[in-house]
């Protein structure tokens, strides 16, 4: 057997090559993980893990909320909830500098209350807002970047797939973490909107002003459009806190609620149902294949013990608590350049979580920090899931670089929010503390 260090180099090189030539990310991670286990532990381990992981990962009640949240998002879109939201946001914010981008961010944040998946958010608003912004002559980097970045808001604003995964790994309360994400999510949205305003104010050519004028009457009337999202939010979050169902059932209840709204609005046709089913199937399968590959890769890394050794070393140094936090952030972001967020959580948390809570950090707050780091990772090159989604869902021609360079200013703003969340833990914790 090869030693873990040599194997790690070989495996990382293979992973890099596979990624660069355009292999499916899940396949690249899975194949690299299997080769790694084959070389370090032996064929028995590699084959046994390959036999277990794909089935165990998909045949899971906890992870079933992922396709159900996606389904909920598809129904909400079909019910025109997103379009209505977007109209409302546009009516109120459209006359600001960069108004359409600001409205998109606002609408994406609000839709985050109904969608648990950053990927769903990014895909929905790429199809809906990108053509509008293109028509108005918006800089395509600004418009694509804003959609990719504000799509990640779905991870902090409950419900959220990433929070479910954090809660499962760390055995924390799903409900508490979801509540804790509300303020940080809104804060991020506000910072994004402010950032767009300032950038367009400084450089008006990024976003030409629309000619249409919106009357106050139309504005008030547009507010009617948000009832659907409001109802869904109350149903899902309210239902959990009223004790009507456990958070693991939030996906089924939310999807069903969204379906009822579609039927109520008389927008359910056979054709649209077919599209929703296809879309949900495709999005779920692409996400799960990455989770399966990421899990195999994570098992390989766990076998090598590199993260374990690293953290044992860090603990032995008896550093100040914030140094550990800094290490966690750096490790997360480096992995976040290459690996999908869910897999990073699976790899780092079993090791770093006990260390960080051991030095006194709050587990719920740590969940919010982890989700924030995951949001950043979703946008950083070379592997940035949300950027890919915008690129692949775009009806307007875009290159991956367009989106990556467009999203960078938002990543900078994300770091600003991260710093605020670190220095003011109460922003995350006061709501869950109030509720218990």
């Amino acid at each position: 057997m090869l030693d873990p260090a040599t194997t790690s180099y070989i495996v990382l090189a293979l992973l890099a090559v596979l990624l660069v030539i355009g292999t499916h990310i899940g396949v690249a991670l899975g194949l690299a993980g299997i080769l790694g286990m084959y070389l370090t532990i032996g064929p028995d381990a590699a084959w046994a893990q390959l036999a277990m992981v794909p089935f165990a990962t998909t045949n899971s009640f906890m992870l079933a909320v992922i396709p159900l949240f996606i389904l909920m998002g598809s129904f909400a879109t079909q019910a025109n909830l997103t379009t209505d939201l977007y109209r409302t946001a546009y009516a109120w914010l459209g006359r600001l500098p960069g108004g359409l981008a600001i409205a998109t961010t606002f609408a994406s944040a609000a839709f985050g209350a109904a969608s648990g998946s950053t990927v769903v958010n990014a895909a929905v608003f790429t199809r809906m807002a990108l053509p509008e912004m293109t028509r108005l002559g918006y800089d395509k980097r600004l418009s694509a970047g804003c959609i990719a970045a504000s799509g990640t808001l779905a991870a902090l604003i409950p419900p959220s797939i990433l929070m479910v995964i954090y809660a499962i790994i760390t055995e924390q309360s799903i409900g508490k973490i979801m509540l804790a994400g509300l303020v940080p999510g809104l804060l991020t949205a506000i910072v994004f909107m402010g950032g767009i305003y300032v950038r367009v104010k400084l450089n008006p050519s990024l976003a030409p002003m629309p000619k249409e004028v919106i009357s106050w009457g139309e504005r008030w009337k547009s507010l009617y459009g948000v009832w659907g999202i409001g109802v869904l939010f109350l149903l899902v979050i309210g239902g959990i806190y009223a004790g009507l169902f456990t958070p693991t059932y939030a996906g089924a209840i939310g999807a069903f609620g969204a379906l009822l709204i579609v039927i109520l609005k008389r927008r359910l046709t056979g054709k649209s149902m077919l599209e929703i089913i296809k879309d949900t199937g495709i999005t779920s399968t692409t996400i799960f294949i990455i989770i399966i590959g990421g899990m195999l890769f994570a098992r390989f890394l766990t076998y090598t013990g590199v993260i374990n050794d690293l953290s044992a070393y860090l603990i032995s140094l008896e550093l100040a608590p914030y140094t550990y936090l800094l290490c966690f952030i750096v490790v997360f972001l480096i992995l976040g350049m290459f690996i999908e967020s869910i897999a990073i959580m699976v790899m780092t948390l079993p090791v770093m979580y006990p260390v960080l809570t051991g030095v006194g950090y709050d587990p719920i707050w740590l969940g919010i920090i982890s989700v924030k780091l995951a949001e950043i990772s979703l946008c950083t090159p070379p592997v940035g899931l949300n950027v890919y989604v915008v690129r692949s869902a775009s009806p307007v021609p875009l290159t991956l670089e367009n989106v990556f360079s467009g999203v960078m200013p938002f990543v900078v703003m994300d770091f600003l929010v991260l710093a605020v969340l670190i220095f003011f833990p109460q922003l995350s914790l006061f709501i869950p503390n109030m509720m218990s």
Partner: protein
């Protein structure tokens, strides 16, 4: 310098709850002068509860710790060790199965079929009901109440009490009681203390039932590779750990009860007459197990085990 670097996969996070198992690994290392080194990976890092015994059997890990309940068709014989309403104390559950294992080769054969070997078993503390309302000490109080269940057997006894079984994981319980999704949590006394269930349910009744917890196993492939002297050390330390566990479970139970009492909560014992009525209303779970084994073509030996089990548990 280690001669054997062995990997141990555990399905639970590394908490003081795993003290005895960790001390087993340390003792093996120490007695082999570090020639056998055991590295633990906890919280399902190398595989979830339903994966790791398979992984050990196939040689992907060397030691594995999980419960028989996660392998209903791979370890059906061992499932008998997790039947409720059979034993009075955790100690009795462990000792009964120690005897059964010695008398009936079926237990070891079943593990061998999976490619693993039994080392020792964790005794779970007794189970109690925890909820905001009083009355969990009688059948009348339980009637129509929603009570947390798990696995295949617990729902049967809850239904027999006229209550409604709601399947929930351990981590979901606290919130479920707090928000009123269920009327009573159902947990072993150690978990009631560590999950702070007494915060959301001031009424605790029991003990209701007790049975064995998870098992420490070693991969047969690993076992075959080890020289006899190390095998001997591992078996001796496994027996010692089993013994320590029996002492530990009483202390752990007492400590947990102290934590609960210190929070100002007294445990209401389940009414003895009511318990007798409840057990009478419950189908014979040992018999049901033997019937299930008969379907698997092992009825004859299972009947013998069932008879002996009832005799030992008396």
């Amino acid at each position: 310098q280690a001669e054997f670097n062995l990997r141990w996969a555990h399905y639970l996070p590394n908490t003081p709850f795993l003290e005895i198992e960790n001390s087993f690994a340390e003792a093996v290392e120490k007695r082999t002068d570090g020639k056998v080194k055991i590295t633990g990976t906890y919280a399902g890092g190398l595989g979830g509860a339903g994966e790791i015994l398979n992984l050990a059997g196939r040689g992907a890990v060397d030691f594995a710790t999980s419960a028989a309940g996660y392998y209903p068709d791979r370890l059906p014989v061992w499932k008998a060790s997790q039947l409720p309403f059979v034993f009075d104390t955790p100690k009795q559950a462990i000792e009964t199965f120690k005897t059964l294992r010695e008398e009936f080769p079926l237990f070891d054969e079943e593990m061998k079929g999976m490619g693993i070997r039994f080392l020792f078993q964790q005794p779970l503390g007794s189970y109690y009901f925890v909820g905001p309302q009083a009355g969990c000490d009688t059948l009348e109080g339980l009637a129509g109440k929603k009570i947390r269940a798990f696995g295949s057997e617990i729902p049967k006894i809850i239904s027999a009490a006229g209550a409604v079984a709601i399947t929930l994981t351990t981590t979901e319980m606290y919130e479920a009681v707090q928000r009123g999704v269920i009327d009573y949590a159902n947990a072993d006394v150690g978990n009631i203390a560590s999950l702070k269930l007494y915060e959301v349910g001031k009424n605790i009744c029991g003990p209701i039932m007790t049975f064995s917890g998870h098992m420490m196993t070693i991969s047969e492939r690993t076992w075959a590779k080890l020289p006899e002297e190390y095998q001997k050390i591992i078996m001796e330390e496994a027996d010692a750990a089993q013994q320590r566990y029996l002492d530990w479970v009483d202390d752990n139970g007492k400590n947990a009860i102290k934590v609960i009492n210190d929070a100002g909560i007294q445990i209401t014992p389940f009414n003895a007459d009511e318990m007798a009525k409840w057990k009478a209303a419950t189908p014979d779970l040992v018999q049901a197990w033997a019937e299930d084994m008969a379907k698997r073509g092992k009825g004859e030996e299972a009947n013998k085990i069932a008879a002996r089990l009832k005799e030992l548990a008396k």
